[in-house]
């Protein structure tokens, strides 16, 4: 941890994006996490992705629960809206905010403790409801804030820093997200920004429930031999399904590939996800086969990363509920409070 703020001076040739901001403008306060924490790399990837997409920071709402991961929204997008909720309750607060104002970009940041243990139900329901959000779990397989107990995502047989062996089955959040009906599911690794940044970009552009499981080594308590979430272990067992390029609608597509090498998925907003396939047997637009593939590869001892599943035409919660297109704060008093007669009408309809 550093006491000094990151110096404001920057590279003299630091580029600006379409809205005139530099990458440094997307930073937050300096991290107070342990030096070398994977979460800081994920923060850097979120910064890069938002810069690349030229997202105005004040149009983003970043929400989190409790834990090391949930501290991180302080360390990126200092100009965005933020809500640090109760442990495991980020998904319901996010859902409420999304219902009130559908115009913001919702970024939920959580950890394996926050989402796979205390907030497991909240996680499940926000996904199955189809909340339009990017839900990132910074997954280190360990309770870092309380000195390294196994979490619910620790692999069976993995060894804690002091030698204890985990005897419980792990929760695979990505597999569960596919099963729960998430319309965008990916897994990545904090130590591979080339893979992670485009996945975050694609998730932010996705107009539905996008879930990202990012393995993020805990340098203090889970980066030793015997851990299955250490830098070394993840690098050795990482099997990338595909490499992703995200093209926003205004960009012209110039690269050319041989047929079969590339799958292009055009999302609802017009952005194109170009997948350079590394595994031909994996089809990222077929939920059942994606599910089958990750379970099969896990049994083979691989950590499958990349874009696992995407539904190009997702529907989201507002569409299911038939709510008004405007955010509530854009409505006038008359619309928000239509009066006694309107209430009578509703009550009568329910009698």
């Amino acid at each position: 941890m550093s006491y000094l703020p990151k110096p404001k001076l920057h590279h003299p040739k630091l580029p600006t994006n379409a809205i005139g901001l530099t990458r440094r403008d997307y930073e937050g306060a300096i991290s107070t996490l342990c030096a070398g924490c994977g979460h800081d790399s994920i923060s850097a990837a979120i910064i890069q992705a938002c810069f690349n997409l030229s997202i105005p920071p004040h149009r983003v709402a970043k929400l989190s629960g409790i834990g090391c991961s949930s501290k991180t929204p302080t360390y990126f997008l200092g100009a965005a809206h933020g809500f640090n909720s109760v442990h495991g309750r980020m998904p319901s607060v996010l859902t409420g905010a999304y219902l009130a104002n559908r115009d913001l970009i919702y970024l939920g940041v959580s950890g394996d403790g926050d989402s796979a243990s205390i907030g497991f139900g909240q996680f499940a329901h926000s996904i199955r409801r189809g909340v339009n959000m990017t839900y990132i779990v910074e997954n280190n397989g360990v309770y870092g804030l309380t000195k390294g107990q196994f979490s619910a995502t620790s692999d069976l047989g993995s060894v804690a820093k002091k030698g204890a062996v985990n005897t419980d089955q792990p929760i695979d959040l990505a597999a569960i997200a596919v099963q729960l009906g998430a319309t965008f599911v990916a897994r990545s690794f904090s130590g591979d920004k080339e893979q992670l940044v485009p996945l975050i970009e694609a998730a932010l552009l996705h107009e539905g429930a996008a879930f990202l499981d990012v393995i993020s080594p805990c340098v203090a308590f889970n980066n030793h031999p015997g851990s299955t979430k250490s830098y070394d272990y993840v690098r050795e067992h990482n099997e990338a399904l595909n490499r992703l390029d995200v093209m926003v609608p205004r960009e012209t597509i110039t690269a050319s590939y041989r047929p079969g090498e590339v799958t292009e998925v055009t999302q609802h907003d017009g952005s194109v996800l170009r997948l350079r396939k590394l595994r031909t047997e994996h089809d990222p637009t077929n939920r059942a086969s994606a599910m089958h593939h990750i379970l099969e590869r896990r049994a083979a001892g691989e950590i499958v990363t990349g874009l696992i599943y995407v539904e190009p035409e997702p529907t989201a919660l507002h569409a299911h509920l038939g709510t008004v297109p405007q955010p509530l704060n854009a409505l006038g008093d008359a619309e928000l409070c239509p009066g006694v007669d309107a209430l009578e009408k509703i009550n009568a309809a329910l009698r």
Partner: protein, 597 residues
């Protein structure tokens, strides 16, 4: 790329842009930190060991360090290195006790130095503590050479010259022969010196060759001679209307002196464009602030006079044209000539070397420009016991180059007198020491100040112009000096990377405020420079490459705009990055008598 060899002293030395650019390689960040700590005498001594004349140079140096300063690449202006040096000199108090003692027991070797300028005095300073008996010959009444004769008092008070020459001449071991002009090298050699050092400067002002020059000679003066006459009090006034010819620092000193001696309408006229003038930008600025216009692209054509009485000068208007190779030529524009009326003309269009006192059969060979043939490293001439330095060696340069030559020649003379090969140069003295004191505590102040460069206060112009001895620059006070020191980026505190400790977590890449660090596949330098987190376009700055990482990638750090803030090392979980202070002191003569540690 091959992994960088950081054990070569040049690698980290080059990262310290200011020290690398300084001809005498003064450890700049080291003394700036000492000033920040209020240790002015220590800061002065670090300077004194390297550049011998901190008080003089803190006011007059050409400051090659400042254009090189890294701060100038990440912000608007470099650190005011030169003026901080003066702060050390102004506040140091008593320092003579810290200087190396001059032994009573001499080593039996006698050295003659011709000229008592900065080069000769540096040789004397370096050799006297080793037991050499150094004889310094100079035709003027007082020592200092260029420093005393040609730098006006309003830039450099005489007490400063007296003090710093005194540290060399008055502590024993050095015999001053002032008012003694050396007229014959052969005669000097016949006096049996073990070695002779020629530091006689470039004493001849270049002449103006236009019609009317000779007829109007009474009011046309060669700049350097005129400045010397002003310095020694022989000249006390000048006409009301003065033209100064030339665009170098001597011309700036001439015009500003003329302004103080009765010149009311003083103009500088240069052949080239304003931008190409040799004078330092701050000297041009100071002259213009005193109401002196600088007229450019005017080539002297004729001196106008009435029977020898100077009336004015005629200039031809020219423009710069560049050929395919980028060489400039000044071409007449065809516009009407410009006539400027004047009472006096000061000619400061260059200086030349002259060695009328060296017999052509004395054994010293000269090149076709009239300069002695020298070994560039040893400064030894074709006569093995004669060495050259300062302006006498390679033509007119400046004080700090003269000092650097003096050190080089002193090393040579010492080797020569001990019968060793002068080409066998001793290596510099180098230390590399970790600055780590705790998880996020360093032995240097790693916070980065965002302050812009502080201005040095000046005496009000109306006061300054009344008295030619009134120093114009007042120097920083201690408080402002402290704030200015904080702008220094501590480029001598190096980022040292140990690949075998690295777990490739990217923490350093993410935290680096100037995007210096990249982990990537290795490649050739040209290719690698384009693939970094920020393209490394400044080819003068090296890439620091280390291999041996688990993923087979390499760590590449572009040194160009590193703030040396230590954030990479603070955020590194394994100590693969460390901040280590690199202190380099150039080799001094044997036994390191003038060594700072």
């Amino acid at each position: 790329m091959k992994p960088t060899d950081i054990s070569s002293p040049d690698y980290f030395h080059k990262v310290i842009d200011c020290q690398w650019a300084c001809p005498a390689h003064t450890p700049v960040p080291e003394y700036i930190r000492l000033i920040a700590a209020g240790r002015y005498a220590d800061a002065y001594m670090v300077n004194w060991h390297s550049n011998v004349f901190p008080g003089v140079l803190g006011r007059t140096c050409d400051r090659p360090c400042e254009p090189a300063c890294r701060r100038g690449r990440v912000e608007e202006e470099p650190v005011a290195i030169c003026r901080l040096k003066r702060v050390a000199a102004d506040n140091k108090g008593e320092v003579s006790g810290r200087m190396p003692p001059i032994p009573q027991q001499k080593n039996g070797k006698r050295i003659a130095c011709v000229g008592a300028g900065p080069a000769s005095l540096t040789v004397a300073r370096d050799l006297a503590p080793l037991g050499y008996e150094v004889h310094v010959f100079d035709e003027q009444a007082k020592a200092g050479g260029f420093i005393r004769q040609q730098i006006p008092r309003f830039r450099l008070p005489e007490e400063v010259i007296d003090e710093e020459c005194g540290y060399i001449l008055d502590r024993g071991g050095v015999v001053s022969h002032q008012n003694r002009r050396v007229d014959s090298l052969k005669a000097l050699l016949a006096e049996g010196y073990d070695a002779v050092f020629v530091g006689s400067g470039a004493p001849r002002g270049r002449e103006l060759d236009v019609p009317g020059r000779r007829e109007a000679a009474a009011n046309i003066h060669l700049g350097i001679d005129w400045l010397a006459s002003v310095s020694f009090g022989h000249v006390k006034s000048i006409g009301k209307r003065v033209i100064v010819l030339g665009g170098g620092n001597t011309a700036m000193d001439c015009c500003r002196s003329a302004r103080r001696l009765g010149g009311e309408d003083v103009k500088v006229v240069v052949r080239s464009g304003f931008e190409e003038m040799k004078a330092s930008p701050w000297e041009k600025e100071d002259a213009m602030n005193e109401g002196i216009p600088i007229l450019n692209y005017l080539v002297p054509k004729e001196v106008l006079h009435d029977n020898g009485r100077l009336r004015g000068m005629v200039f031809e208007k020219v423009a710069a044209q560049y050929d395919a190779k980028g060489r400039r030529s000044l071409v007449p524009t065809g516009e009407p000539d410009v006539t400027i009326e004047c009472d006096d003309v000061l000619v400061a269009i260059g200086q030349e070397n002259a060695f009328p006192w060296i017999e052509r059969d004395a054994g010293i060979e000269f090149d076709r420009w009239g300069l002695p043939k020298l070994d560039a490293d040893t400064l030894q001439s074709t006569l093995p016991n004669v060495f050259f330095g300062g302006d006498a060696a390679f033509g007119p340069k400046n004080i700090i180059w003269a000092v650097a030559h003096g050190h080089q020649a002193a090393v040579s003379i010492d080797l020569f007198c001990r019968g060793e090969d002068v080409r066998n140069r001793p290596p510099p003295d180098v230390t590399l020491a970790s600055q780590k004191m705790g998880i996020h505590e360093w032995a240097y102040d790693n916070a980065i100040s965002l302050d812009l460069r502080y201005k040095v206060p000046h005496l009000p112009a109306e006061k300054a112009l009344r008295d030619i001895t009134a120093e114009v620059e007042l120097g920083y006070d201690r408080e402002v000096a402290y704030l200015e020191t904080q702008r220094c980026l501590n480029c001598d505190v190096q980022t040292v990377f140990t690949a075998k400790l690295c777990i490739e977590c990217d923490a350093c890449v993410d935290i680096c405020p100037t995007d210096c660090i990249t982990f990537t596949e290795n490649g050739e330098e040209d290719d690698l420079r384009t693939r970094l987190k920020a393209p490394a376009v400044n080819l003068y700055q090296d890439l620091y490459v280390q291999d041996g990482l688990k993923t087979g990638r390499v760590m590449v750090k572009d040194e160009d705009v590193c703030l040396h803030c230590g954030m990479c090392a603070e955020r590194c979980p394994t100590g693969a990055w460390d901040m280590q202070k690199f202190l380099l002191e150039t080799a001094k003569p044997k036994a390191h008598a003038c060594h700072s540690r």
